[in-house]
Symmetry: D2
Subunit: 341 residues, 4 copies
Amino acid sequence: MLFFVNDYGEGAHPKILENLNKYNFYQQIGYGNDDFSSLAKERIAKKCKVNKDDVYLLIGGTSTNSIVIDSLIKSYEGVISVSSGHINVHEAGIIEAFGHKVISLNGKEGKLQANVLDKYLKSTFTNPSLEHMVIPGMVYISFPTEYGTLYSKKELEELSTVCHNYNIPLFIDGARLGYALASTKNDVTLDDLKEFADVYYIGGTKIGALCGEAVVFTKNNMPSHFTTWVKRHGGLLAKGRLLGIQFETLFENDLYFNISKNAIKCAEKLNNAMKEKGYRFLIDSPTNQLFPIVSKAKIKELSKNVLFEFWEEYDDEHDVIRFVTSWATKEEDVDKLISLL
Amino acid sequence: MLFFVNDYGEGAHPKILENLNKYNFYQQIGYGNDDFSSLAKERIAKKCKVNKDDVYLLIGGTSTNSIVIDSLIKSYEGVISVSSGHINVHEAGIIEAFGHKVISLNGKEGKLQANVLDKYLKSTFTNPSLEHMVIPGMVYISFPTEYGTLYSKKELEELSTVCHNYNIPLFIDGARLGYALASTKNDVTLDDLKEFADVYYIGGTKIGALCGEAVVFTKNNMPSHFTTWVKRHGGLLAKGRLLGIQFETLFENDLYFNISKNAIKCAEKLNNAMKEKGYRFLIDSPTNQLFPIVSKAKIKELSKNVLFEFWEEYDDEHDVIRFVTSWATKEEDVDKLISLL
Amino acid sequence: MLFFVNDYGEGAHPKILENLNKYNFYQQIGYGNDDFSSLAKERIAKKCKVNKDDVYLLIGGTSTNSIVIDSLIKSYEGVISVSSGHINVHEAGIIEAFGHKVISLNGKEGKLQANVLDKYLKSTFTNPSLEHMVIPGMVYISFPTEYGTLYSKKELEELSTVCHNYNIPLFIDGARLGYALASTKNDVTLDDLKEFADVYYIGGTKIGALCGEAVVFTKNNMPSHFTTWVKRHGGLLAKGRLLGIQFETLFENDLYFNISKNAIKCAEKLNNAMKEKGYRFLIDSPTNQLFPIVSKAKIKELSKNVLFEFWEEYDDEHDVIRFVTSWATKEEDVDKLISLL
Amino acid sequence: MLFFVNDYGEGAHPKILENLNKYNFYQQIGYGNDDFSSLAKERIAKKCKVNKDDVYLLIGGTSTNSIVIDSLIKSYEGVISVSSGHINVHEAGIIEAFGHKVISLNGKEGKLQANVLDKYLKSTFTNPSLEHMVIPGMVYISFPTEYGTLYSKKELEELSTVCHNYNIPLFIDGARLGYALASTKNDVTLDDLKEFADVYYIGGTKIGALCGEAVVFTKNNMPSHFTTWVKRHGGLLAKGRLLGIQFETLFENDLYFNISKNAIKCAEKLNNAMKEKGYRFLIDSPTNQLFPIVSKAKIKELSKNVLFEFWEEYDDEHDVIRFVTSWATKEEDVDKLISLL
């Protein structure tokens, strides 16, 4: 079977396994205080132009979202997200489990629009019943979004401006950040993230790691006792080396950024081939997730040889499906898929 | 430096790394539905004499405790633990974060006593103000305890009887379960755990794995939508293979149980040598944690060559320290430590 | 100033104050176990055709919503509401504070539509990612709604059918229940509520009481240890008599239902007069809340003599405002208001 | 039956009912913004020497404890209490429901001792595992305590000093504050509370009100958006007038303090008479709760004519029972009780 169902189907980049093996018996103190985590933070901090202490390694996306949001906002505050945002749909209510409402706004192609946000914040903060409402405490966006789309630098800047007008931090979920940065349609840099976001994370799970996300606080704003926050959310590994070795490897010689390019190259090839064949798309995604509209008959046929995800019904005769490429996708598999389409 | 500070200082058993490498590019479905997790559950189920569906692989001890407790008891119920229990002391309040009181009872050498438990439950359930109190919904014990001590089969049976008299499940934290079972002083078997506990877990993090604990529900009592519980607690890995490969490896040919023996052998050697040298102990631990009473001068001297943990002050001239051995401890390091004592 | 700003501007119905005074020194046991609460429950139960033990007296609407929802659904479940529902907008996130997502669906004139609900439940329960989502555990509606509109018996029946097809309880917020039942446009009875709802409450705060709502469980489905749930939510009064006396009074000789009629009579008079004068309405409310569209100039003028609530901007020249009548509104005040319009 | 079972057996002081009646049809804005609440805060503020905005009226003790604690400490912080403290025993786990551990320390006659507190805080804040623990964020004491005992001014000062050495606020639960201040053994004044406590409350429910407690923030430290905190905890009444009228009445001409004296006078009379008759006491309480040790035979006999609370078994032949007097206790009932003893 050809595997295009998600971007976490394989294990880790071989260099990571090599280092896990190489350093296996180096004895280390636990809970993230090991030498490897230290080195990883150092490398990430340098790349992201923050201090080493502004970086924290965590185990997975949902856990990271819940820790960052809960630690940065007040108990009574909510977090704004587009309705298709991961925290609003696919995280089993973990944000609410820690007491916070996800305030959902309508997005456009998965993106939050600055004017929609501004209107909401204005009407909320001037509402005479504000004290009876959930007070917005943060804005959450994904880059790339759940639909694979990208914010332009201008759009990020506008969102950031609105947030800061209301003294609300902007948090960017970068579960697939590498794929955004590697996109040929992208004009956003790590420097821009540092400027426009208050906190973001660099997703490892979907880009070369077995698990792990690296959180970057851009304004010296890591909450105090952050390790306690992490522990309290169940996200502190005894063997911090597992995250440390992975991220020091991914950030040695830009490995993370280099392997991200493969997903984009494969996705573009597939995208172009499908367009040539006349396929339409639900959304024109410039990253590693494609959402073609395919006839039900064709889908049935494809299913015999390809693993992919059903997305939603399009009309009586067509469904939207999702193809995902990754750092590990082989070009020959893309070619085989194209030949089947 | 000699490393006796904890049992999570090294990486993973080499066989685990070998398999992570071997299967790295086998493409797998995510979130625990991979073939390796399936195989791991199968092997564990067979060993523990439960159904495969009664086993669930999780990432770490604190996360496991919070998921098991929160999913098995009602919102208004609390969980009983000895005051030295891990959930009461060293988990940053995660049980309370999910709304449950840890009801602490005095223990003896880290162990909950059946008569103390019985007395508490009786007085609580007959209290006319019961509705104003936190209703006990579960009993939590650690095996071995945080002091390295062991419950005898008889003690477990008594606790189990008391619990079931009040219709309360007994949950056993087995973060170091392998070391308990490997102890030459132990008379408890996996069969006994199946009989006396309602749920327990097999700790991997401290015994050969990079991370991971395997939960075993012994009475067909895994809560429905358990994956949702796990996700909601931030404990669901996209790449379930990381846990799957580790546990299928640990449960192939009893690897888990065999490597546990090394910790006990090393601890016994150290224990015996110290007793011969006249050292006293805070507690006589039959597992891999030792709590010797050492003069402050000697501690200062040792610190130059040995990593260990300060436990508590004993008197003006002595402190209690903790030495921990593990599956990875080298006998030669034990010998070196003995020579320094 | 004429007072049309809400329906809780006055104190209590005089008969309540009379009884509070009359029984003031009758010594009573606390926490809802007093004779007055007992009598109140008896009277309510008789009227609603349930058992006395299916009735519980609580202090206020927000508290009641949080207690009923939290006690009836599982921790990981959410509650469905139209986006304009009180729990989604004006309760400061108390539902989320107890860990539950409010799943908001678009309503029509404040009402949840059975087909919209059915579609949502179907797509959710058949979603392959269900375990990663917030599982719907209850449906919440208000009767009358926040816009003063009413469900017909047929609409309630349809909603109830959908809920029960998915084994989900239907909860009706009756903060203004009396005004719904008193409306000349209403065709729903208490018998219908018993049949179609799994739990509902009879609002006292807005209809004659100083505070208090009476919850009615219609299917012998009051959660066990309900008093503990109430206490845990901060809603248990030591002097349960305060609620007991109020509700036994309101349910003596149908006082509650009789005084509700005054609000409707006043609202209809105002409604008719405004229509005659050519006013348009945002929504055609058949209960005690009216939402006229008024020119900004007129609003400014009215403000000098009338207290009312600004609702929302309608267009550049008009705003929507809200007039509310109550059990205590004087017809002469309605006449005065009409003369000013 | 003679009623000595608690201090909330009657309704309200007649003057309160008189005012509820008198102002019943004064139309008022809701949610605590009414004129009566304003007047009540003004009177309380003057008496307690704080600003009017430092006072907030709430509905009951448990609700007040949960709101004050949750709003003043961080999510990951716990609150210290003696093990017999109300929040640790009789509030159904509401503190934990909002995520906070109640850290219980052993008390002496219901009182927290400054040296015990100091030792705990010192050992915790210097613990190398602090980040894995529940960080203490507040100290909670009751005045009088759950055993009716009183802190001396010196004891309060010492506790306050310890708290402030660690930058932790001291919160005093004054559910029975009037009875403490009225005790002939008391040397603490409202001025002392302002100095030593960071926040305290003046209990109305047990002293003359139908319900209600007035919170006083002594250091301009009311958390921002406090009304949102209150609403989020289910403690905001639509008809704030209910609390406003009660407290403006209780604080007119020191009514609150004057009626408190009756409970003390009655308790002292009973106490003296029992001592003369040779009764022993579990604890020598100087306020309105007495804990005599009574033979089981006598208890059985008394039960025919007197309502009181069983406290605990003392020995095979004796139990401890509790007699409570209140603002409403009649001296003739005390005399009758004495005659039965």
